[in-house]
């Protein structure tokens, strides 16, 4: 006996096996990201008044990445539709766009990560706090491009009304002046912890999805010649996953960038 319904849908459910499988998998993914979003909510409502950051992320960059992912969802649908219409050449084109969009997204995301990892908060021995991006550092001195703040609270709400944009300039410190120096990695604040965890996990999903789509676009395309219907199903299933990954970002963007 062979396993039935690998390609053709089962009459009473209207689904082929893999389509049901991916929907179930996505249900578990909803629970996975749901737990992380719940964590975000709990950490945020549990934060001390005035200590939850606003405006730490660059909204135009985030918007750009959102548009990139939404476009990739469209090209994914078009690629699947091309398969349905037996136009392999168009499929090749549209999924090439999807893969390019995925690569763009990951590059932009790495740029944003890099920006956070080179961003330092420096507590000086005299009680002052300096904050800015690292220009260069050596064994006995550190140079950042940034500004001084009197109260650490000023660093949290960058969107507060009336907060004048402080002038940024190059600041030089001797190592001996510095009490503590920490970059804006996940260890710096629970907001950054959940930001890096959520977007990191999401980025892994983007990369995983792009690898699968890339495989189907390249070597996996051989299946088109022998069993086009099955190949189209694979495009559909990987597309469903891709839409989910996009949808997660649609929630991530407002939650992390805008709120």
């Amino acid at each position: 006996m062979e396993i039935p319904y690998t390609t053709e849908p089962r009459p009473d459910t209207g689904l082929y096996n893999a389509k049901l499988g991916i929907w179930l998998f996505l249900a578990s993914e909803v629970m996975l990201f749901g737990a992380l979003f719940s964590t975000y909510i709990l950490l945020r409502v549990g934060a001390v008044e005035g200590h939850w950051p606003h405006g730490w992320l660059n909204v135009p960059i985030g918007t750009f990445n959102t548009l990139v992912l939404i476009s990739s969802s469209i090209t994914t649908v078009l690629a699947w539709a091309a398969c349905k219409m037996k136009r392999y050449d168009r499929f090749k084109f549209w999924h090439a766009c999807t893969i390019l969009a995925a690569i763009t997204f990951v590059c932009v995301k790495s740029y944003e990560y890099h920006d956070k990892f080179t961003h330092y908060e420096i507590n000086l021995n005299d009680g002052r706090i300096a904050d800015g991006h690292l220009v260069r550092q050596s064994a006995d001195e550190v140079v950042i491009h940034g500004h001084f703040v009197k109260d650490r609270k000023e660093l949290f709400d960058l969107k507060a009304p009336g907060l004048e944009k402080a002038e940024h300039k190059e600041l030089e410190f001797k190592r001996s002046e510095i009490k503590k120096m920490e970059n804006y990695g996940p260890w710096h604040h629970t907001y950054l912890a959940i930001y890096f965890t959520l977007t990191g996990l999401h980025a892994l999903h983007v990369i995983g999805g792009a690898l699968v789509i890339g495989f189907l676009w390249g070597p996996g395309g051989k299946l088109w010649k022998s069993d086009p219907e099955r190949f189209t199903n694979r495009i559909e299933v990987s597309g469903l996953f891709w839409h989910f990954v996009d949808l997660v970002w649609i929630f991530l963007f407002p939650v992390l960038y805008l709120l």
């Binding site: 578990s28 719940s38 709990l42 260890w187 629970t190």
Partner: protein, 607 residues
């Protein structure tokens, strides 16, 4: 392919039972036994791995019982060996407090995630679900293989953590932060990585089970003709699918706390060993508990539902009558599935989450006991008026019913907010959930092993040694766990490396509520019972392996005269399972139908 009456339908009518284990496999050793995609081989892999972990987890427990009964004294016989193997934690062959803690944490983890769940779900589910629904295999055979390999890798990671410099995880199987994050051992990181692998394995398995049951049911196998075992596995798969991911998220976050030094679960102002911890703070320890128990309570039903499925099959077969209240069983199982997602915080009454929330969870907890009682009642009533065959599987099943009853009923005081204040974290809790899982689920697993053994091998296990195994296990299980109710009610806390000696009347005569010598003396008695329980597993182990080649031949494909489809295949079932595609004409338990020539009518026998 609607050959209505395959030659294998008649119970006992087809002699295909001579054990010829290799006919079903083509291909080399690696593709047959290691990288197999056949659900039966994967089921066997799960089963053997899980049984090994079951034995390992049991041995950890015996060592802990020694330490509890004789705190600080070197372990007899194997003490020097332990000292060599585990280094300073077992110096002079005695178990240090840290080592005791890691044994405790790992006993729980191994028994739940590496022994019972893989045995109940991975082994029995994999082997039987496709057979019982008349499918050639799981829906996704390669995903199935990956599921086992993730599981094995997770098990290896857990096992290796014992030999790290700081030892294995020590913060209990619940791994509550900040304690778990601040204990200076990498064992906790290994525990978390192991858990992430095990959860991934369960997810792959769960997707596969659900897709298989929905998509691959044979023609005529309608939902209400599914054997109850399949229903139980189906609901179990949903629990795993939806309850496990939050723990995966929590595991990832605790791993971040441990390795990257984030503060998901570390509050502001946390001090470790008198020093302010160098963390950003702002995290919530309670969050971990919520995410953990959101999995770990449904997990309880993951442990028990497959066992109930096995029990229903064996009861129907050995009473020679249909299970009573099939629809109620199915309905109750589905209700348990839904309700199990909203009871988790009854594990957290002592955290100060507030009396309103406690009351909510107390209410849902009382509610979920209703479907549990419905299931147990249906199974009990099924015995009524039956002409019961008291073979080994049936004995284990008969013991399951009262043992699970004790386990379930003693859970009610724990589900009630006020009673729990006294009983929380005592040996009463230990006794309660071990009654559910040990003489409950494990007995059902043993029953299943004895019952389906002729299907895997074509031979029976020895009835005599099976009965020795049963009576020994039954008596000593109760000797171990019954006294713990008394100890717990007397106020003995769990997780104490000295078994409560520190809180004894002997040490502090004036203290109110100090533990009496009688309560402490029970430890010695439990230790001996545990030792004897281990001893009576020896006949089982020998029986299990010896019978593969030397057991009494089953004599037919359907030696128990059963109705469900797994008995209507060749023995052992070949790759693809069925000689001809089965067609299902009737419900799963048509035993002793009035007017029929035989007392069982297989599901694929046409009218």
């Amino acid at each position: 392919m609607q050959t209505a009456h395959p030659t294998t339908t008649h119970p006992g009518g087809h002699d295909h039972a001579a054990p010829h284990a290799h006919e079903s496999h083509s291909g080399g050793f690696w593709s047959t036994y290691v990288f197999s995609t056949d659900h039966k081989m994967i089921g066997m892999q799960y089963g053997l791995t899980a049984l090994s972990f079951l034995l390992f987890g049991f041995m950890l427990m015996v060592l802990m019982r020694w330490q509890i009964a004789h705190p600080g004294q070197p372990v007899p016989v194997i003490g020097p060996f332990l000292a060599n193997l585990l280094g300073p934690g077992a110096a002079r062959g005695s178990i240090s407090n840290d080592l005791y803690n890691s044994f405790g944490a790992m006993h729980g983890t191994i028994m739940v995630f590496l022994a019972i769940v893989p045995l109940a779900f991975g082994a029995f589910g994999n082997y039987l679900v496709p057979l019982q629904i008349g499918a050639p295999d799981m829906a996704f055979p390669r995903v199935n293989m990956a599921s086992y390999q993730f599981f094995l890798l997770g098990g290896v990671v857990m096992f290796v953590s014992f030999f790290l410099p700081g030892g294995a995880a020590q913060a209990g199987w619940t791994s509550y932060p900040p304690l778990s994050v601040t204990i200076p051992t990498d064992g906790q990181s290994y525990w978390l990585i192991g858990m992430v692998l095990l959860i991934s394995s369960s997810l792959l398995g769960a997707v596969n089970f659900i897709a298989t049951v929905i998509q691959l049911r044979a023609p005529g196998m309608t939902w209400m003709r599914l054997p109850f075992f399949v229903w139980a596995q189906f609901v179990t798969a949903f629990l795993l699918l939806l309850a496990f991911p939050p723990l995966e998220a929590a595991g990832i976050m605790q791993l971040m706390d441990k390795v990257v030094h984030t503060s998901f679960f570390l509050p502001t102002g946390l001090a470790v060993e008198g020093q302010m911890a160098a963390v950003s703070g702002g995290g919530s320890p309670l969050l971990w508990q919520h995410l953990f128990w959101f999995l770990a309570h449904p997990e309880v039903y993951v442990l028990i539902l497959p066992a109930m499925g096995i029990v229903a099959e064996i009861i129907a077969n050995n009473t020679r009558k249909p299970v009573w209240g099939y629809k109620s069983l199915v309905g109750a199982t589905l209700s348990i599935g839904v309700l199990s997602f909203i009871v988790w915080a009854h594990h957290m009454y002592m955290t100060g989450m507030g009396s309103k929330i406690s009351t909510f969870f107390q209410t849902t907890t009382m509610l979920i006991s209703i479907p549990s009682v419905i299931i147990l009642t249906c199974l009990l009533i099924s015995l009524w008026g039956g002409s019961i065959r008291f073979n080994t599987p049936m004995l284990f099943v008969m013991a399951f019913l009262p043992m699970f009853g004790i386990g379930g009923l003693t859970g009610l005081p724990l589900g009630l907010n006020y009673a729990d204040l006294h009983l929380h974290d005592t040996y009463y809790v230990i006794a309660h959930f071990h009654y559910v899982v040990a003489p409950g689920t494990i007995f059902a697993m043993f029953a299943g092993l004895y019952y389906w053994y002729p299907k895997y091998t074509g031979r029976f296990m020895s009835e005599f040694w099976g009965k020795v195994h049963f009576w020994g296990s039954f008596i000593f299980m109760n000797c171990i766990f019954l006294p713990m109710f008394a100890q717990g009610m007397a106020g003995m806390l769990r997780r104490m490396a000295d078994g409560g000696a520190n809180y004894s009347q002997a040490r502090v005569p004036d203290a109110v509520g100090g533990l009496s010598p009688q309560m402490l003396n029970l430890h010695t008695y439990i230790l001996w019972a545990a030792f004897c329980l281990g001893a009576v597993q020896i006949p089982f182990l020998i029986n299990f392996f010896w019978s593969i080649k030397h057991g009494r031949p089953a004599g037919s494909d359907n030696p128990w005269s059963a109705t469900t489809l797994e008995w209507q295949t060749p023995t052992p079932p070949p790759h693809g399972n069925f000689a001809t595609a089965p067609h299902v004409y009737r419900g799963p338990y048509e035993y002793s139908v009035p007017g029929h020539a035989t007392d069982c009518t297989p599901q694929n026998q046409p009218d």
